[in-house]
């Protein structure tokens, strides 16, 4: 198990280096400003008479008023400064959720936002896993219950998170306009209300669907084993057969799929936070990029790496603890 954790810490260091090197790339960019400003990617301007149909065509020639080059020396300098400030804990941020323009210490802000994200993540994971266990357990029921379980879990994995949120937003607007009932806060993008219900529901779909699929497959296989037949022959009640024998053996197998589930859930958390106005670490990443603050992006990237590695390690440790045969090593 210790070897597994050692390997994970090594991977964390490797991922952290990649994230910092990539996130700090903009530090090396040298911009030469032209006389007039046009946004990057601008394709030109179309002036038109209002009532006439017109067709937009890209303008010829240079649309962008800037020229970009990349300096290794500038990049190296930026990297070095970031490393020093990170180690000393003196990183600051200029723009943070519309706060004052003065520099604020970054690390305490990240701690607060991470805590907010962690609360959402933990609640969604817990809700998703509990619902997933119940849903997965339905495969042992009637034909209809089985179809419901499989159908819902496949749908949960297939339907994208952003679509659920967009539809959830529309649903509450429609319900308010039609019946005067607000199902949850209207979580508009940038400046809307804030709330917990919709992000929690949206984020718990993936863990629920994943857990249900993993548990149902593992239970299906476990119920065909010899020891189940033996337990039944001995007259053990069916509930105990499932809980004590089948579930006990199915759980470690289901935990095998946890790393992939955590990876997808953490990715999904970014989308959920941005779309539901949740001021967590995902929104912080967005802020860092919007205000061109590579050191904020790099720091949040590091937090994500560490977070994933710890969660992944915990899942593998749990699997090892649940399965005595695996106690010798923790690597998956």
């Amino acid at each position: 198990m210790l070897k597994g954790w050692g390997l994970r810490l090594g991977l964390l260091a490797f991922s952290a280096v990649i994230v910092v090197l990539v996130a700090m790339l903009p530090q090396g960019v040298v911009v030469t400003e032209a006389e007039t400003f046009t946004p990057p990617g601008n394709l030109g301007e179309v002036r038109t008479d209002a009532t006439k149909k017109f067709r937009i065509e890209p303008a010829d020639g240079e649309a962008d008023g800037f020229t970009y080059s990349w300096s290794l020396a500038k990049y190296g300098k930026g990297l070095k400064r970031y490393g020093v400030e990170l180690v000393r804990g003196t990183l600051t941020v200029q723009q943070w959720y519309g706060t004052a323009q003065e520099a604020l210490p970054l690390l305490p802000l990240l701690k607060d936002t991470w805590w907010l994200s962690f609360q959402l993540f933990a609640a969604a994971l817990l809700l998703g896993v509990v619902l997933g266990l119940l849903l997965g357990g339905l495969v042992l029921g009637s034909r209809g219950a089985r179809a419901f379980s499989v159908g819902l879990s496949v749908l949960g994995v297939s339907v994208p998170d952003f679509l659920l949120i967009l539809l959830g937003q529309l649903l509450t607007i429609w319900s308010y306009r039609t019946f005067g009932v607000r199902l949850w806060s209207v979580l508009g993008v940038q400046g809307g209300e804030r709330g917990w219900l919709l992000p929690l529901l949206a984020l718990s779909i993936i863990p629920m669907a994943y857990t249900a699929r993993l548990i149902s497959t593992a239970l299906d296989e476990a119920m065909r084993q010899e020891y189940i037949r033996t337990a039944r022959a001995k007259g053990v009640p069916e509930v105990l057969v499932v809980l004590k024998h089948a579930m006990r053996n199915a759980l470690p197998r289901a935990l095998n799929g946890m790393p992939a589930m955590l990876n997808v859930t953490l990715s999904s958390q970014l989308v959920v936070e941005v779309l539901t106005n949740h001021y967590g670490i995902g929104s912080g990443l967005m802020r860092g990029l919007s205000y061109s603050q590579p050191h904020v992006v790099a720091s949040i990237g590091l937090i994500f790496c560490a977070w994933f590695v710890v969660m992944d390690g915990l899942a593998v440790t749990l699997r090892a603890l649940a399965n005595p045969q695996l106690r010798g090593g923790g690597a998956s």
């Binding site: 991922s15 994230v19 067709r55 993008v189 994500f304 994933f308």
Partner: protein, 298 residues
Amino acid sequence: MRRMPLALWIGLVLLAGLALVLVWPLFGDLPHPQQGVLLQMEGKRLVAPPYRPGQLGYPLGSDLVGRDYLSRLVYGARMTLGIALSINLIRFAGAVPLGLWAGWRRGWAAAVVQAAATGFGSIPALVLVFITLRGLRPLLPGDNAWLIGYVLVLGLAGMPRIAEQVRRRTQEIALMPHVESAQAVGAGTLRILRRHILPVMRGDLLVMVPSEMAWVLMIMAQLALFGVFVGGWVQVETITENIYIVEYIPEWGQMLGANRQFLLQYSWLAIYPGLALGITAAAFHLLAEGLRVRGLRR
């Protein structure tokens, strides 16, 4: 006849619908996706865009400068699927030979592929791709360079995971008797991989391709929500000197990302491309799931 899984049925029906959308411009009479109008008469009223769905003969409404949204969505299918397909091609073109080779060679080659997959897997995919693309954005001026960078980064980011899956399967197949027999009669590595391992893996690849297609579409949509998408902007100035800055290329990701800020006022601008992306991703997911179940039944 063996019963086809329901997921496969639904996936195939949805994809057949998508195929119809792809060929629609060849047979249907659609307005040009870049054709707009800034003021129109509705009865005795002058109305300005965005036109609501169903208003003034726009079945799915229009965007901020009066471009027909149905037409943009239909043309957008080609662009979006073309990009997703290119990304998938890069992924599989790199990952399959690499995985086959690493699985056959074992030793350090397998360890490198395994480490790369675990390393990339230890960062949420969206975070890695998002940070990389935003980091590279200033270095890729111009729409073509940006498009190539976008496709390459998304392609390369998924490669290690697929290579690892192929490596594992190759190692399993390499232990099969027919491979041992081929080795015994002196067949070369390339011949064994091509004639004896790859055909056995066909079923796995058949499941992996639509599944990857779905993940690529999902990540394209997620990136778009963060403001990372292909294509540029265009500004349209009206006679009242209002300036609209709108997306240019009809691509679902760009349409979703550029219009998500209008979700509460003009919900169709973000919802339709979001639905298109979501349903297409779900269709590929269901196809992969159906093929997987069918493979298991066999």
